[in-house]
């Protein structure tokens, strides 16, 4: 990045590589497209964790969301087999491609959650898994060869709430409080076709109240930027108002009103999965897709950094590939190190900002004052 800026400033001074048609145009406005092209080539990685008691339709929903069959040979265990089981972590990865964009999606399932009579310990396994992914990333990030860091950190956690209750259960509250500082929590009301419209609204309000009451931090959609178009802003507004999403999943095609839709066929009617009047499935999918990037960013900037600072504060050197600490810096070498690194980063930031302001100033001086480049 620094190199590029240096090149550009050099170019400005030399006056070469300017587009004769719009003399002020440099062309770095093309940057986002280059980033876009590079990422498209590289592909995206996303890890989604699903947590909830068994029988809430988690697997069906995941299959519906991504229109794949993530669990082709699934055997549902009976109660007898479930008795001695503890919570397991099962990660399945699938590569989905759409219009040239590759997504490597990992879904982390947690069978056994909430099934035991005594569910006191059922989330320690899950938290250990999340921490483990952070640890691994931290280790890779501090390693010598950083070209192929695989990002398996959990970017988003769908927490499934049963529609049968009158709100959150004690287990729901405890679990969300235990992970809200480690992962983006998105509460989802499962099997929403159990509820009438009024019951659904009431349940959503109850859940939001209880989330407030217990101080649980769920993932908040970022507000639309002021320069986005009205449609997008409206869409974001609607999405924000519908949390928690009440969804219905299905992999079966039903014939309804002459066309084939995905839904559930009851003797009294057909629930269409993709009908916004029936449930919030489309909203959930839209949220996930349009905010995938943001979910990753928040994981990186907030949850991962939290973990990292906690971890480094706690001490203990990382493995031999980790940071090379200068010997015997002082009573708390790790902290000193962290400070140093922070200072370095701040210095770099400042330098970059200075460069940018310099470039902007230079562009305004140009007589034709074509301040904004063309948007390609």
């Amino acid at each position: 990045m620094t190199q590029m800026l240096m090149l550009l400033s050099h170019v400005l001074q030399q006056g070469q590589f300017t587009n004769p048609e719009t003399p002020g145009y440099v062309g770095f406005a093309n940057l986002p497209n280059q980033v876009h092209r590079k990422s498209v080539k590289k592909g995206f990685e996303f890890t989604l964790m699903v947590v909830g008691e068994s029988g809430l339709g988690k697997s069906t929903l995941i299959n519906s969301l991504f229109l794949t069959d993530l669990y082709p040979e699934r055997v549902i265990p009976g109660a007898a087999e479930k008795i001695e089981r503890t919570v397991q972590i099962e990660a399945s990865t699938v590569e989905i491609e759409e219009r040239g964009v590759k997504l490597r999606l990992t879904v982390v399932d947690t069978p056994g959650y909430g099934d035991a009579i005594n569910s006191q310990d059922c989330f320690s396994t899950i938290i250990a898994y999340i921490d483990d992914q952070f640890e691994r990333y931290l280790h890779d990030e501090s390693g010598l060869n950083r070209r192929h860091i695989v990002d398996n950190r959990v970017h988003c956690c769908f927490y499934f709430i049963s529609p049968l209750g009158h709100g959150l259960k004690p287990l729901d509250v405890q679990f969300m409080k235990a992970i809200h500082n480690k992962v983006n929590v998105v509460p989802v009301i499962a099997k929403a076709d159990t509820l009438t419209l009024r019951e659904r609204e009431r349940l959503k309000r109850r859940i939001l109240d209880e989330i407030d009451e217990h101080g649980i931090k769920i993932y908040h959609l970022p507000d639309a930027e002021s320069d986005e178009d009205e449609d997008f802003k409206e869409q974001t507004r609607i999405l924000k108002a519908s949390i928690p999403f009440a969804v219905v999943g299905s992999n079966q095609q039903i014939e309804a009103k002459g066309k084939k839709v995905r839904g559930r066929l009851y003797p009294w009617g057909v629930v269409e999965v993709e009908n916004p009047e029936h449930n919030d499935f489309l909203k959930l999918r839209t949220m996930l897709i349009t905010h995938m990037q943001d979910l990753q960013e928040v994981t990186q900037d907030l949850h991962y950094e939290n973990f990292r600072s906690e971890r480094l504060k706690r001490g203990g050197r990382l493995s031999s590939h980790g940071y090379v600490l200068s010997p015997a810096k002082g009573p708390e070498p790790e902290e000193m190190d962290k400070d140093m690194i922070l200072q370095e980063k701040e210095a770099e930031l400042r330098r970059m900002q200075e460069m940018i302001t310099k470039m902007q100033a230079q562009m305004q001086i140009k007589p034709d004052g074509a301040g904004d480049g063309q948007h390609v």
Binding site: G78, A80, I83, N118, G165, P170, D193, T194
Partner: protein
């Protein structure tokens, strides 16, 4: 006429079942012979009338069958008690179902308190009684609710308070029975029926379900029902029911009507059919909607109205008929003759005799 043994002619009452066709009106000239019993009890002596295999054939009408009518009148006057317990974790629609079953507000929310459904920290037992009347018959219905069951993070032994309550009722009854000066009608607070609500996950029973039913099926009549079954499509429902039945069988859980208590073939056939159809997948509702010009109880959603009493939609009607219209008395009898007797026998054996403690009377252990 002078044969005092011939009972006076009885006018047949309307409720009495029809008389068998071959019985003629009492005739004083019928040869009764030395058998002495009026009305033709002496089968072998009476010419022309063969010996029927299963009992005696009547030559005249006595009116023994009017005993049914007498019992009926007595029951109507006295009224009867019925105690039903509902168990299941919060949100399964237990109170709504009970209200729908008895078509009145009989659940614990009946006292008009529209308060918040706060989950209590331990299992509580809340009994609410109402007297409901239908066709001149009065029923004192007690609904015993168990809020807090299965709602905690740690649900170990959450059935203990329930077990304790049931045994306490047996104990109360036993004490009354054992008194020297007994009441004419001992108030019956024993739990006649326990409706256990299964969550409609579509997968299988949960551990808690199995543990509860294992512990309590020997103590009380358990009727498992699948709650809020409008979550499942008909296929899913059948699969789920089948799996639940298999699991209950695997764990040796005998739900009501229990196999071992079938009296005769007729009972057995009827009960077999019911057992195959259980657990009933029900939906409860206390709101009415207009469907095809009729007002029906149901739930209205954006894609249709779930009708509670429509057998194609759910099995509520089956449950109601089974519970109330055909097996209500049987539930009480099984509770009294079997569960209570088991408790009594155990109790008497344990103590080597009962020492009923009563403030006023000095009792001796006379058992």
């Amino acid at each position: 006429m002078s044969e005092s043994i011939v009972p006076p002619e009885v006018r047949p009452k309307p409720a009495v079942p029809a008389k068998p066709p071959h019985v003629a009106a009492p005739s004083p000239t019928a040869p009764h012979g030395p058998s002495g019993l009026g009305g033709g009890f002496g089968v072998d002596r009476v010419p022309g009338l063969g010996h029927s295999g299963s009992g005696s054939t009547l030559l005249g009408y006595i009116g023994i069958d009017t005993i049914i009518e007498q019992m009926r009148k007595k029951t109507m006057k006295a009224g009867f008690d019925f105690n039903i317990m509902i168990v299941g974790h919060s949100g399964l629609g237990k109170s709504t179902l009970v209200n729908t079953l008895f078509k009145s507000q009989v659940s614990r929310w009946s006292s008009g308190w529209g308060g918040e459904h706060k989950i209590p920290k331990t299992v509580e037992i809340k009994a609410v009684s109402h007297v409901i009347e239908e066709g001149g018959v009065k029923m004192k219905l007690t609904v015993i609710d168990t809020p807090g069951f299965g709602d905690q993070i740690n649900n170990e032994n959450c059935w203990d308070p329930i077990s304790k309550y049931i045994n306490e009722q047996y104990e109360k009854f036993l004490k009354e029975e054992v008194n020297i000066a007994r009441k004419k009608r001992i108030p019956d607070t024993r739990v006649h029926c326990c409706l256990y609500f299964i969550s409609p996950t579509g997968h299988s029973l949960r551990q808690l379900d199995i543990e509860f039913m294992k512990h309590l099926s020997r103590v009380v009549n358990i009727i498992p029902v699948i709650a809020k079954s409008d979550t499942m499509t008909p296929d899913e429902k059948n699969e789920f029911k089948h799996r639940v039945r298999k699991e209950l069988e695997t764990h040796g859980i005998e739900y009501y009507p229990q196999n071992e208590f079938d009296d005769d073939m007729e009972d057995k056939n009827e009960n077999d059919k019911i057992r195959e159809a259980m657990p009933f997948a029900v939906v409860g509702s206390d709101k009415e909607f207009q469907v095809n010009g009729k007002r029906v109880l149901g739930r209205k959603t954006a894609w249709g109205v779930v009708e509670v009493e429509n057998p194609n939609h759910c099995e509520f009607a089956l449950l109601r008929d089974f519970l109330i219209r055909s097996h209500l008395q049987d539930l009480k009898e099984v509770t009294h003759n079997i569960h209570y007797e088991t408790y009594r026998a155990r109790r008497l054996n344990d103590n080597g005799g009962l020492h009923p403690i009563s403030a006023n009377n000095t009792q001796e252990s006379n058992l």
